[in-house]
Symmetry: C2
Subunit: 580 residues, 2 copies
């Protein structure tokens, strides 16, 4: 899926555009500024220097339309892009129509190669978003003109606060783990919490003193086993009312969403970049213990199209709803800040505080307090294996649904309506032939056949429109779960690493690397981790059962309506015919 | 569509099989006896001599299965096939799966090249069955393992009566027109009444004395214009109870159908060859005035399969019903003989009498008596043109329906069920993953998802089976009409030739080729022909309106049931899900 430019395949054609050829030989235009960056990381994905020659490509007119919105705002970006270790990677569009329309900028370079050490054997780079390798499904909304939005023209205007964020780089502990690339990546997410596999779970397992006091996260024994502490009323929020705003005398424009939490019922405004900031904070803080699903995909083209905005809002709503439903995430300070900040100053201060939070990465386990006896390491391992198997199996199942759903979508919107339209036309054509017979008493039949023909044309139209009414939600839910399940290998990987560490505890004691007391502490802490994982799995199962019941109900309900409407239309058409 | 063997493309591989290659380079096996014939007509389509070499083809095992029933019965045929001027032609199967599975033997060779003189400009040879050239649709029953049945092993046992038929060759007038090839073709129909374009309509227009008396066919002026005289109660018959019989100590076997007319309610038995004999008689006698549709296609393979027998019976029933509905055909002596012969002797005598009938070809018009004033030749021509346009347009419309119906059939029985099955499987697979969660209270969801999955599998099955319940009848009716419409160019051609003859009457009078009285007679007789055509068109329209109302009702009724059943099944599946 991922393709890079070699310098041989890049050609400056003037006017700020570079013609580039991907590994499949497909040629397209890329804004010069996207590529002309100094590669400081020397990573696999970067284009270190470009030999540019001047020539004009025939594909200019063809490809320019791909970047209609990247006008002057690019110049603004340009200044900053030079600072970035930016590697440009090209992803094939999932619908296969235009491999140049979907872009992703991955600033992490080789810095998140810690994926190579992932116990599930996952891939490096962007492939980590699909950690089980087989990408059964791209973007299911093939009808949408899909893609990803890096919002490059959208991120520079908060550099001060990013500067504030960069400050925390000089901090210690978990904050340090974010790494340099992250600090300057300006909202281009690393996708994963960096560094935990560098330090590994031993940072938590062996740390001398655990945080005490206010921010403790209890785990109780519920009917189904370990469970988080759930609030009496579940937090909820509504993402609505997307508004286009602009800055810099109209040079820059963006979409602002209104988010209204059920607690305060007072709306706050956020742009996509703020969601992304929140995502980064939640990932840093909870990612070792709680799968934090990625935000909806970014997209370069069509960013101000109604359809796209609606889709992004729907997916941001889905993401927020899932975060609201999580008792730990929803009650966290950073999440509450996002939903309930009072004014700009409040927001800025909250941001800085959140960025300085040191209880991130594996240290989140230090705040968890299971109210239950310590678990035997054997049982811990069994549970971990069980969850690993289940999430892997469910990932396969979900991808299968996405694949067949995608096929079905294509058929419903492609050949099927055409076929019903042709049937309808054939009836109508025969009807108009009959009408020319000159035979008297012809009109009852010809009227009926015309109506039957129109009915089949309508049915064709219905088939084409139906997926948006039912399959869409089935796909969205499964897509969401695919994203969620994609986080589990990381989460489970932390646990497996911890279990391995405990297994070698005896050896470490023998070689005096740790004390016998350390070993006892490690066993206790791995038990805490296991309770966390179990609470999280129980949370996942409970949500999964609710979500799938709900989406299947919705799907089948719409399917019933669909087939009933067809039957009713055909019954109506049937009534027009007569055999005396 | 039609392909012939050149001698270079034929290869004897031993064991009675010949490997042949058609013009598209596709290779298949043909029974040796099918090809090794002496070509006496030297026609375009014949294989005059074969240079056979011995070798063994890899395609042997692949192709042998095509002729599972052609065992010993071939040996019987072999003796006779040597006598025939037989050209072997290969037709592409309409479903495109196996171009070797559909065969047709056309013994007429070049003898029916009178088609070249057809005013509609139709093709020679087999293409005449599709006189408008563009064959939109082959055999719609692609699911059936289609083909044509020449019943070669079925025709020799009545050689005595064929001999009796051959006797009539020595007769005069219309009987003479059948031509020599026909006499030895042994039920392989010429498809069309031969010879009338040799003699042309002038045989009737200028004949000195018209037959008088008993067999007169009146035409009345009805509400819709000229109409045949319709009986008070319409004749009907039931074709049923196909029984396999055998002769020659089991070497030969055949199917006998039971036909019960509504008049006598006494069943008579007939084999396909008898139907074919009847068809030939009706074609000879009425073909110039009344379109006599061909019998259902012949078929080499699968002749004793239940499905094929059922299909042939259904089509013979359709053909008989159409003949019964026609007031002229149904009241004819030969048709009555077929339906009501008392015993074998009665049947044989009746056959001989029918074969000696001299009122055949254009002479049928001599028996028609319109009870209305003579028509102006201009009006005659206008009517003729109108019918020509209409039947051509309807032929196009019918073929369009057959084409889209065929496409729809393929989709309904091919990709659609597979897709619904895959959807069903995906739901069931996810359900069984869920079932492995170890989470309590899982079963409601997993049961519901399994049922939903099974429901979609059932829906897939329903899609696959539905065409047999509704589209089948729509296709059959349109196929029947395609056949019927294919007869009109001939019928209309006779009229156009007659109109042309009348147009040149003045010149013929001037050159003393005819008398002035002949001219008056010709105008009167062409008026009679026009009344006949109009009566026939009105009969056609009335039947068409009934048939299409009926088949559309049936189609839509089954479609309504189909979609309602799907909706009900999905509603049932929907009820299994719960969100508390």
């Amino acid at each position: 899926r991922e393709q890079h430019y070699s310098r041989q395949c890049v050609l400056n054609i003037g006017g700020g555009w570079i013609e580039a050829q991907n590994s499949r030989g497909e040629v397209g235009l890329v804004p010069e500024d996207y590529i002309e960056v100094s590669s400081t990381d020397g990573g696999l994905h970067s284009v270190s220097s470009l030999s540019l020659s001047l020539s004009l490509s025939l594909s200019l007119s063809l490809s320019l339309s791909l970047f209609p919105i990247l006008d002057l705002s690019f110049l603004c970006f340009f200044h900053y892009s030079r600072l970035l270790p930016l590697s440009l990677t090209l992803f094939q569009a999932s619908n296969g129509n235009d491999p140049w329309s979907v872009w992703n900028a991955d600033p992490s370079g080789g810095s998140n190669n810690n994926w190579a050490s992932n116990p599930e054997g996952t891939q490096t780079g962007k492939a980590a978003a699909d950690p089980w390798g087989s990408v059964a499904q791209g973007h299911p909304q093939a009808y949408q003109g899909p893609g990803e939005d890096d919002e490059w023209d959208d991120e520079w205007d908060d550099m001060k606060s990013t500067g504030g964020y960069a400050e925390s780089e000089s901090g210690d502990g978990g904050a340090m783990q974010r790494g340099g690339a992250h600090a300057t990546s300006m909202k281009i997410s690393l996708n994963k919490f960096p560094g935990f596999s560098k330090s590994g779970p031993e940072l938590y397992l062996l740390c001398k003193q655990l945080a005490k006091g206010k921010d403790k996260l209890p785990i109780y024994m519920g009917e189904v086993g370990p469970v988080w502490s759930y609030p009496e009323t579940q937090l909820d929020c509504v993402v609505a009312d997307p508004k286009k705003g602009s800055k810099m005398y109209g040079l820059k424009s963006y979409i602002e969403y209104q988010i209204t939490p059920s607690t305060t019922n007072r709306p706050v405004n956020h742009r996509y970049k703020h969601f992304d900031w929140l995502y980064e904070r939640l990932l840093d803080k909870f990612g070792s213990a709680i799968p934090i699903p990625s935000l909806p995909d970014k997209q370069v083209t069509g960013r101000f199209e109604e359809e796209f905005i609606k889709m992004r809002m729907e997916r941001l709503q889905g993401w927020m709803t899932r975060m609201c439903r999580h008792p730990v995430v929803s009650s966290s300070e950073v999440f509450q800040l996002f939903l309930t900040y009072k004014d700009e100053k409040d927001w800025k201060m909250g941001k800085r505080k959140a960025e300085k939070d040191e209880t991130v990465g594996v240290m989140i386990f230090s705040t968890i307090e299971p109210e239950a006896p310590d678990l035997d390491p054997v049982e811990v391992e069994q549970k971990c294996e069980q969850f690993s198997r289940f999430t892997k199996a469910m990932d396969d199942g979900v991808k299968e649904i996405l694949t067949v759903g995608h096929e079905h979508w294509k058929r419903c919107t492609g050949p099927l309506p055409k076929e019903y339209q042709r049937i309808g036309k054939a009836f109508q054509n025969l009807s108009s032939v009959f009408n020319s017979s000159g035979y008297q008493g012809e009109s009852t039949l010809t009227d009926a056949m015309t109506e039957a023909g129109k009915t089949y044309e309508e049915i064709g139209q219905m088939f084409a429109e139906q997926p948006k009414k039912d399959l869409h939600f089935l796909m969205e839910t499964n897509n969401e779960y695919k994203g969620l399940l994609g986080c589990f290998p990381d989460t489970i990987g932390v646990h497996k690493a911890a279990i391995d560490k405990v297994k070698e505890a005896d050896k470490l004691v023998a070689t005096s690397k740790i004390t016998p007391q350390d070993k006892v502490t490690m066993a206790k802490r791995v038990s805490t981790m296991s309770y966390t994982l179990q609470a999280e799995m129980n949370h996942f199962h409970s949500n999964r059962i609710y979500d799938y019941n709900r989406v299947m109900q919705l799907y089948l309900e719409e399917q019933v309506k669909f087939y009933e409407t067809i039957a009713a239309k055909l019954r109506q058409a049937h009534g027009q015919f007569t055999t005396m």
